[in-house]
Amino acid sequence: MNGVDLRPLLLSFEVATLATILAAVIGITGAAILANFRFPGRDILDVLFTAPMVMPPTVLGYYVLVALGRNSVIGHAFEALTGSSIVFTLTGAVIAATIGAVPLVVKNVRAALEETDATLILAARTLGATRLRAFFSVQLPLATRGIVAALMLAFARAIGDFGVTLMVAGDIPGKTRTASLAIYSAIQGQREGEATTMVVVLTFLVLSLLYAVGKLTARRPR
């Protein structure tokens, strides 16, 4: 263990935490819309939210570079405002990790919301609650278990992102070199010991998360 650089693991935790928060905001909003509203284009919105799960990371990385790169409108404006670019920074790494995590949140939270008892929501509405109030004080709390499971999955996915991160984050040690990038570098640089440490930690973490997700979703009362 001595001499092994632990910064990539810490950075991965930071990136995955921020990405999970971001994915929670985007994903729960998306899931709420998909679960509670019928409107033209709903299926298309669903496809768009799901697409990152099955699209090659290179395609996603390319989109990010084009849409948020330093020559893009958004990238340019962001750099003018904050003085730092989106790509090659922590922001870029977080966005890369978020892209993979959002579909997992949308899919699982939507399922959890759709499983809540509609009569309870209707009861809240008849008692005078607005749609928004009924959502936040009845539907969302009822779906807590599913939401927590979805966020754990999102975290597990975010901490392991490789492809998009490799393309947009710039692999900067201490700044954007996450654990999965560091493992790749360590293997190529013939530093197996370093790779093994991070591989073991990540494997253990992701397996524990999946186990916890299994427990959470299995004990759902019928």
Binding site: R70, F88, G170, D171, I172, Y184, I187, Q188, G189, Q190
Partner: protein
């Protein structure tokens, strides 16, 4: 019942795959009809594509390239990847693959010496020399990962020896290999890149050569490999090596800015 049926199908599919692999993998020249597989350093991406076409035209044999960072390719070959030849961007990784037993030591040969340059898609951003990298207007400077890409290591050495590393490092971004590094600058995401002359020479934009005395020489070395478990094509690999060293091969390599063995520019080793 359903599970048993699925399992039966899965076992059947695996069986077919195993037989197919067994056939293609079975020793004595059974790779007939398959191309010569060359693992080549990313700096060769443009030059070798052209050398490959000329070789195919003159020999009638097919050759396929996999370009990547030398460190990655060497690692894959040591683990049994089916390549017939490794054309590296330096010498030390070639020693590694020979030591692993995957490649044939006495076929090791120097075939070119590489050079690094500063490259930008926008010639206005291009400084007169390395010293110009101090300019804070160059917000992002791309190099290949020095840990496993020889061109990245050379770039880092040159920056260190000119006392610029402390100024450049906070602005550095790293490509997985020298080709991706080039992409960072081509797409305008990095303002400037330290890359191989062989990639910069044919592209629009501009470049400034870096003094080769500032880094360990990029002695690009090749070695014939055993092709992993499928068996190698040593004769075709040697024919390709001979073609790289022949006048038509050298002419192409020269055009991409490589210094060649036996030519005046290459100091004796």
């Amino acid at each position: 019942m359903a599970i048993a049926a699925v399992a039966a199908v899965a076992i059947g599919v695996l069986g077919v795959l195993a037989t197919a692999c067994g056939k293609s993998g079975g020793g004595d020249g059974s790779r007939r009809g398959e191309p010569l597989r060359v693992a080549a350093a990313a700096d060769l991406a443009l030059a070798f594509a052209e050398v490959g076409k000329a070789f195919e035209a003159s020999s009638g044999k097919k050759v396929e390239f996999s370009f990547g960072s030398t460190g990655l390719l060497a690692k894959q070959i040591s683990e049994g990847a089916p390549y017939d030849l490794l054309a590296a961007a330096n010498a030390s990784y070639v020693d590694d693959v020979v030591r692993s037993g995957a490649c044939i030591g006495d076929t090791k040969a120097l075939y070119a010496r590489g050079r690094i340059v500063l490259w930008s898609s926008d010639p206005a951003k291009l400084p007169a020399g390395l010293e110009g990298l101090r300019d804070p207007k160059l917000v992002k400077i791309a190099l290949a990962n020095p840990e496993h890409a020889p061109y990245g290591l050379a770039a880092k050495q040159a920056l260190e020896r000119s006392g610029l590393w402390a100024s450049v490092e906070p602005r550095a971004v790293y490509g997985e290999n020298v080709q991706q590094t080039m992409m960072f600058a081509q797409s305008g995401n990095a303002d400037i890149a330290v890359v191989a002359l062989s990639l910069a020479v044919t592209l629009p934009g501009g470049y400034v050569a870096v003094d080769p005395a500032l880094h360990e020489p990029l002695d690009q070395t090749l070695v014939v490999c055993k092709g992993g478990s499928a068996g190698g094509k040593p004769n075709e690999a040697r024919a390709f090596v001979a073609f790289v060293g022949s006048e038509p091969g050298r002419a192409i390599m020269r055009r991409y800015g490589f210094l060649l063995p036996g030519e005046a520019l290459l100091p004796p080793k």
